[in-house]
Symmetry: C2
Subunit: 265 residues, 2 copies
């Protein structure tokens, strides 16, 4: 039994979907979440900058005595996972690996689709991760930038997200994609809208997948907390309207409140 | 006759609409444009940060010998116009004043609507500027964040922008707004879509309005360039896909190319 918290970080609010998935699966685990809302979005920064930001946050989480670090941000996972794994002795895992593994395991057909931010698509990280696992699979990827804004603004139901889904996914669908990785932590909020248009596409929610990985690692390494219900500490570098709205959506009006925390100079 | 260039700056690509409006009205004027795409968006930064960024860019433009500075970014105009006016001897003008003046002049009814970014709405700058000119007018404002992404992604025609327009504008329309300020330099790209839904709303394009102000000031202060066709120098702190697409949209495939320029450490 290990009652140290799990550290989770993201470039902003999207990682709250990951935080929720981990909390739902592992309700006894304590969680410290940090969302870098002040410096969001990471997707337009250089790789070096994303690495620096990721290091700063990981260093803060380590100072809080976490037993594991979960990189909930796809862009950070693409840029900094290897580096943080080398630098820290606790397990460090990222959403890209979890998403790629789940897609290969659940593969339906010969093609996997990925929708993500422009930066994640450009990094090619999903393609590399999938090709390592299933070299024969063809990966079709596409950035879905409008989805980020729609979720940030809470426009997750109705005609607009459905029309946007058609615009982003129809071409992949016509090419036989029936397994689609939601390669941005915002996108699980659009699962319902996407399924209304494409009920037969299997949507890979990287938050749910990484929650299972967290569970496996905790069991393997004997790090589980079998104590009482785990508390969630939520921090963000800037308290924005969007953050507060999503926090309520995920954790309810009386859930964990988010506190502002500046970890850099 | 004064053949020094006019300096224009924006947080990103939106200011190209302003650049084009000024070039169309004053084709003989030389223009130096700087878009801070690397640090876009300004709307989520603190006021102090936006002031610092605006000063850095203004200082660069002054070092290039401009005869006038046009702040094409609404957020910068709200945060830094007064400061830059105090610090420099050349005329400095911003889009907010131009938009407010045009809306009051063309007022249709007793209410003016403003759609802008979240930061511009929060600053209340349009409300203050309009109230100074026409104290009796009621100002209804609303942030239209999804519009920014739709224009950045080039989704400016079809159902999605029309549905988004309804979502943002219907309430103002029902309250009698027939004069609407497009309070973000991206939004003129959506004029057609908005007019398809609301043909009787007068849309105030701050780029067109500020172009007229530039012309008036040049004439008043005897700063006009009556020489040959003015060249446009376009600079940006990062060369992105969106930037290149919009540059082509505005200035054609053979128009001025954008060069990368880093003006800060």
């Amino acid at each position: 039994m290990d009652n140290r918290p799990i550290g989770i970080f993201d470039s902003g609010v999207g990682g709250l979907t990951v935080c929720k998935a981990i909390h739902d699966l592992l309700p006894r685990e304590r969680i410290i979440y940090f969302g870098d809302t002040q410096r969001f979005p990471y997707g337009t920064r250089s790789i070096d900058t994303v690495i620096r930001y990721s290091r700063e946050i990981a260093s803060y989480l380590m100072s809080r005595g976490v037993k594991m670090i979960v990189i909930a941000c796809n862009t950070s996972s693409a840029a900094a996972l290897d580096i943080l794994q080398q630098e820290y002795s606790v397990p460090v895992i990222g959403v890209i690996g979890a998403g790629a593994r789940a897609a290969c395991k659940r593969l339906n057909g010969t093609r996997i689709g990925v929708i993500a931010t422009r930066a994640t698509v450009k990094s090619g990280s999903y393609v590399k991760a999938i090709k390592q696992l299933c070299p024969a699979v063809e990966v079709l990827q596409r950035h879905a930038t409008v989805f980020v804004t729609l979720t940030e603004e809470g426009w997750i139901e109705g005609d607009i997200p459905r029309l946007a889904a058609k615009r982003y996914i129809q071409d992949m669908y016509d090419h036989g994609v029936r397994t689609l990785i939601l390669g941005c932590t915002h996108f699980p909020l659009l699962k319902k809208a996407i399924h209304e248009v494409y009920p037969d596409i299997d949507l890979i929610d990287t938050g749910v997948e990484i929650a299972h990985e967290v569970q496996e690692i905790l069991i393997q390494k004997n790090l589980e907390n079998n104590g009482s219900a785990g508390d969630i500490e939520l921090y963000a570098s800037d308290i924005t309207d969007t953050l507060q709205r999503l926090q309520e959506m995920f954790f309810g009006k009386n859930g964990s409140q988010i506190r502002k925390l500046v970890i850099y100079g």
